[in-house]
Symmetry: C2
Subunit: 363 residues, 2 copies
């Protein structure tokens, strides 16, 4: 389903995240995308590798200025767009679009987070191929909606509209009737049973020109700032960086989902079912890596005596757990976390307590 006009497909990897949900493995100085949570590769390196297979043009990584060196070391050869400060994904994706448009007026962008895990990479590649094709042919924004496997309340959902297969010649493509905020448990169970809702996984495929037009329509302050950067870019990358440093702090911090996609039209989606996980908690990692050893998952050197359902992660050294079940125990660098698996959304409570006790040096 290669696009008729054969526009060049560029991957934009959003690597600005600085979450604390996987503390102590993720730190301020080493966010989740720089961790090898899925196996041997860092999540960023795996994302870049997949992106290189899907893109016909550039692979651009948008990241925080103070993480450029980490990206360069972990993903050699990518183009890097540095954000002077973090201003969420609308500004980040807009900044990448400005840079790509300057060298390719017909650029098509496939935007994807740097910190997700994909189990079935061939399946992912097939779906991405379709989403790129939709972005080219339909002059629309195309998302990838993940077929839900549980009634999760931690994600936004896409409500499916009419099929657009016949019109676009792309298998599975549907209109997005609306974006739905994170639901409560009952609503999520209804979505799972109903089969008309997909998880919004933050992957968007769109022509760069159209993206910037949409930003201009829904986020005019962001667009005005990006225009200044685009003008400076004609004088070279140094001038653009200087203008970005000047205007970026004043941009609104808003997500591309909330700021643009929920309002834009048409938005289409290609459903995907390729073992996707955002590894949004230690419990999610445990599900990803479950071993056969009594339901315990041990990453690194660890022993578990009289216990099951534990996740033990020893980045170095060893962890011994005796007589405990359904516990998460993580040792990473200078910090150890112990939390029940069912409470792994509450890692932020540990982060808050460390902050309150003036122990931020461990964050």
């Amino acid at each position: 389903v290669q696009g008729d006009d054969a526009a060049v497909r560029h991957a934009v990897i959003l690597a600005g995240g600085a979450g604390t949900r996987l503390w102590p493995a993720s730190r301020r100085s080493r966010p989740k995308q720089f961790l090898a949570l899925g196996g041997d590769e860092t999540l960023l390196a795996a994302t870049v590798r997949r992106a290189r297979g899907a893109a016909t043009g550039d692979v651009v990584v948008v990241t925080a200025a103070d993480q450029v060196d980490l990206v360069r070391a972990g993903a050699p050869g990518v183009s890097i767009v540095a954000e002077p400060v973090a201003r969420n994904t609308a500004a980040a994706l807009g900044l990448a679009a400005v840079h790509l448009l300057a060298r390719d007026p017909d650029a098509v962008i496939g935007a994807m987070p740097a910190d997700h895990h994909i189990a079935d990479e061939a399946g992912w590649a097939r779906v991405v191929e379709r989403a790129f094709a939709v972005a080219e042919r339909g002059d629309a924004t195309c998302t990838i909606g993940i077929v839900p496997t549980r009634a999760d309340t931690g994600f936004g959902y896409l409500e499916l509209g009419a099929s657009r297969e016949a019109e676009l010649g792309v298998p599975g493509v549907r209109a997005v009737a609306r974006f739905v905020e994170k639901p409560d448990a009952e609503t999520a169970a209804g979505y799972l049973a109903g089969g008309r809702h997909l998880w919004n996984a933050g992957m968007f495929f769109v022509r760069a020109r159209r993206l910037l037009d949409d930003i201009g329509r829904f986020l005019p302050a962001t667009a005005a700032g990006l225009d200044v950067v685009a003008a400076a870019l004609k004088e070279g990358p140094a001038a653009a960086a200087a203008e970005a440093a000047r205007i970026y702090p004043g941009l609104p911090a808003v997500s591309i989902d909330h700021g643009v996609m929920e309002k834009a039209s048409p938005v289409l989606t290609v459903p995907g079912d390729f073992g996707w996980s955002d590894i949004g908690s230690w419990a999610a990692l445990a599900e990803l890596r479950t071993s056969a050893d009594g339901g315990n998952t041990v990453i690194g050197d660890g022993v578990i005596v009289d216990g099951e359902g534990n996740l033990v992660v020893a980045e170095d050294g060893v962890i011994a757990v005796v007589g405990c079940s359904d516990l998460v125990v993580v040792r990473s660098g200078d910090a150890v976390l112990v939390i029940p698996r069912a409470r792994s959304q509450d890692v932020r409570r540990a982060v808050e307590a460390l902050t309150a006790r003036h122990l931020e040096r461990f964050l």
Copy 2:
């Protein structure tokens, strides 16, 4: 109650222990006596300090040959008697007695483990003074029996006999009717209620000559070996060390309690109530160091959110515990232990599991 004949009182500190009950803080290369579990000092350093206050002669530390450097560094200035291999306390104490007798034929020994904690040091000193006096005047072995504070099944007990106060002029001294092995829970509860049983804390006060005579009577093979060392000692310490290296591996490994004291007569005791703990488990340490913070005890940098009754020990780095109670979490060097406080006697299970998984390097 200084002894009438003013014999010189020597302290013999038994520092040969290599237990694993406080793993991962205690390791093969750093047994419990080298840990600062009671506060800022190591248990050995605190024992030496107390011993120096109580002894009028030498302070001798008996330790394993491969721990001589640790002792020298941790307790500068003590006399060190090195055991070529570990052969339990009867041989260790006998070897120390041989060395002391060579320079003081009237030596009185106060033997004490290196790895116990004493909260009330002044109270300890008063009781030790009495025990030394009994050893001198009564030509008997005098133990210190700890007044029990709970129905503990982890200790041997001393059953009290008749008072010997009038005869010896030492307050509180009683005959030991018999040594009792570790009791079951019901028996221990009866001991606690009855008031006629004391904990055997492994502290013995006896003339060196009498101790060697008792060893000769009850452990003739040990005595024969020690005689060889004693003879060699007349030619100097190097000759004695060479003979010890030769004969020591052949000596029976038996405790002074079981091998000698349970059979010797008379054995007397002075009851003591000075905040004694052998810190035989992480739970015991938690009792020793309990803080006011919701019943949690935190040693080092740690935060506890939504939990109580936890013991958190971070020798370095930080430990965060969220949503757990009555748990022991210890981080020491390259190892982390997580175990319910009520199961802290089962640390050996972790040690066994590490051994089975060929992870002995962490022991």
